[in-house]
Symmetry: C2
Subunit: 333 residues, 2 copies
C-alpha cells in the first residue's frame, strides 16, 4: 500500500512511528504492507519510492524542523499528481475559514482514484456532503474516524453496533476542554478565565483555545456525526452555534450546565442544563454521545477526547478498515 | 431455518410476535426464513412441521394458559431429539441452583449439532466454560446477547468496536433494580425497604427481587462478560458476591455508592464508593460498563437494562448474527 502522508506534526509523526512499530502485525494479521513513499510538511516533501523510514524522516524533522532539504521544490499537489499512490493520509492543521490546504489535497486525491484518510475536521465541517459525493463518484474510500472521538469510538459504535437499528438522533458533549472548564466553574466556583488558565497550565486547553470556546470544534464534530450516522447532508453553516460564556443558564442544585451538541430538534451547539447523575452528566475532560435508537431506548458512549497518540492510532484502524472494504468489494465483483 | 422455541412466557411470546412482524425484512435483507416448528412451555409442546403461526400459539396460550392440548405427551427433550432442527431458542426461567431445565436443553441441542440462542443467564452463570467448549466441540454456534444488557449492547460493543484492541478489564453497574434503589436511598433519604417497595410499585423490581438484591444477577452477567470478552473461563462460584444492604460504605459529599461488578483485581460484586460526575455515576435504572482498553484509555457504554421486548429483539439480532457466521464459515471452506 503506497501512502503519501501530508502533515508531519504531532499526529503525522506519531502515525509514522506507530505504522513502523505495527509493521509485522499489519502484514501478518491483515496482509497490509504500508509504504510511505512521500511525506510533506509546510517546507515541502521528502520522496522515496522505496519507502521512507521513520528514522530518516524523524531525524530530518527534529534536526532542521522540516522534512525536506532546502532545495526541494516538490509540493503536496505534485506528490498527489505525480506519484503512483494507493492512499493519501491527511494530518494538516484545521483551517475553519477555507478548509485549505486539506480540502484541495482531498479533492485532488479522490479525482485521481486515491483513497483518503483524514484527521482534519475543517474540510469535513465545511464541505462534508461534497466530499462524500466526490468519493462515491470516483469509487474511492474516504475515512475520517480520527476527526471525532479518536479516543472514543462514536462512529464505529454507530456503524457496527447499531447497524440494523433505526438511529433517530444524537446529542452529546464533544469537547473535553470546555467540559473541563464548565465543571471547574460550577463545582469549584472558579471564574471562567481562571478555569481556562488552569486548563492551559494542565495541557488540556491549547494555547489558542478559540475554536473550543466558541463551540466551533463541537459543531464540526456534530456535522461529521450527522452526515455519517444520520445521513443528514449538513455543513457547519447549518448548525446554530454558541459557545461557553461567563453568563451561565439558570440551574438548580440537582442540575449542572454542559456544552451540548445535538442533531434535534434543530442542529445546534449551546450550553444546556443537565440533570445530575444522568448519563450526560460526565465531568472532567470526558466526552459523551447519546444515541436515540428506535428499538433500544437511549444508549450512551463515554470516553476521553483524543490526543496525538489516539488520533494516530485511529489512522491505523482506518487503514485496516480500508483493507477490509477493498476486500469486500473485490468479493462482490 | 427450522427453530424450536423453548419457553413461552414474556420473552418467548414477544419473540414469536417479533419474528412474525419482521418476516419480510429477515427474508429480503438477510435471506433468513425462520420457521417455528415447535413451541414448548411447562405444559408440553405444540409441534407443526410446516411452522406454527403466532396467532395459533398465542391463542392457545391466552385461552388455556398452555401451548399444547391436554393430551400432549411431547416434552422439550423429545422435540430436540426427534425433530430436524437448525436452531433451538431457549427462553425458560432462570434457576440459579441447577441451571435446569435450560442446561440440559442446551447441551442436548449442541450434541445434536443444533445451534443455540439463549436468554437465560443461569446455565451460563453456572457452566459457561463447559457450554463454550461443548459448542466448539460440536461445531455449533452459541449466542446469548440477551443475557447481558439486552437493551444496551455491551457484548456487541466489545466484539465489534474494540476488536483489535487489547481489553484489560471490565467493571460496571449491571443491575437496574439495585441501582434505582441505591439512588433513592442516597439522594432522597429513603430506607432500603421503602426504596424496594417503590421499585416494585413502579414495576422496576420483580415480585421476588432476591437475585437482584443479593448480587447474583450482577454476578451472573459478570461471568458471561468475563468469559466472552476477556476469555476468562470463570463461573459464578469464582465471583466474590455481596449484594446491597442498609449498611452502606462511608462516602463523602462528592461521592455516592453503587453496586459494582468488576473483573479485577479479583472478580467480585459489592457496593463501592464512586465519585459524583464520573462516568460510573449513573442514576435511576441505568446500567453502565467500563472497558479498560490498552490503546484507548477507558470507555463507557451506558443504557437501560432489558425488558421482555428488548430481550426478544436481542434474539432477532442473534439470528441475524448466526446467519452471518454460517455464511462466513461456508466461505472459508
Amino acid at each position: 500500500m503506497r501512502i503519501a502522508l501530508l502533515g508531519y506534526g504531532t499526529v503525522g509523526t506519531a502515525f509514522h512511528r506507530l505504522v513502523n512499530e505495527k509493521k509485522n502485525l499489519l502484514k501478518e494479521k491483515y496482509g497490509i504492507v504500508p509504504q510511505l513513499v512521500a511525506i510533506c510538511d509546510r517546507s515541502g516533501c521528502m520522496v522515496n519510492e522505496e519507502g521512507i523510514s521513520y528514522e530518516t524522516a524523524y531525524k530530518a524533522k527534529t534536526e532542521s524542523g522540516r522534512v525536506c532539504s532546502e532545495g526541494s521544490v516538490m509540493r503536496p499537489m505534485d506528490v498527489i499528481r505525480g506519484l503512483s499512490l494507493d492512499l493519501m493520509v491527511e494530518t494538516t492543521t484545521a483551517n475553519f475559514k477555507t478548509g485549505e490546504p486539506s480540502l484541495s489535497h482531498i479533492f485532488e486525491s479522490m479525482k485521481r482514484g486515491i483513497h483518503v484518510i483524514t484527521t482534519n475536521k475543517a474540510p469535513l465541517a465545511l464541505h462534508m456532503p461534497a466530499l462524500l459525493e466526490e468519493a462515491s463518484l470516483n469509487g474511492v474510500e474516504f475515512l475520517y474516524s480520527g476527526t471525532v472521538g479518536g479516543g472514543t469510538p462514536f462512529i464505529s459504535f454507530g456503524d457496527k453496533v447499531l447497524r440494523g437499528n433505526s438511529l433517530k438522533g444524537i446529542k452529546g458533549i464533544l469537547n473535553g476542554t470546555t467540559n473541563y472548564m464548565l465543571s471547574r466553574v460550577i463545582d469549584s466556583g472558579l471564574q471562567m478565565s481562571e478555569a481556562l488558565s488552569e486548563a492551559q497550565r494542565l495541557g488540556i486547553a491549547e494555547a489558542d483555545p478559540t475554536l473550543d470556546l466558541n463551540g466551533f470544534d463541537s459543531a464540526a464534530k456534530l456535522v461529521i456525526l450527522m452526515n455519517h450516522l444520520l445521513n443528514k447532508r449538513v455543513t457547519i453553516s447549518d448548525i446554530k452555534i454558541s459557545g461557553i460564556k461567563e453568563d451561565l443558564p439558570k440551574y438548580a442544585g440537582d442540575q449542572t450546565v454542559k456544552l451540548i451538541a445535538s442533531s434535534f430538534p434543530e442542529p445546534k451547539v449551546s450550553m444546556e442544563v443537565v440533570k445530575r447523575g444522568s448519563p450526560m452528566d460526565v465531568g472532567g475532560t470526558y466526552n459523551v454521545l447519546e444515541f436515540s435508537v428506535e428499538e433500544l431506548d437511549k444508549i450512551y458512549v463515554t470516553g476521553r477526547g483524543a490526543g496525538g497518540q489516539e488520533t494516530a492510532a485511529s489512522i491505523i484502524r482506518d487503514i485496516v478498515e480500508l483493507k477490509e472494504k477493498l476486500m469486500q468489494k473485490s468479493y462482490q465483483i
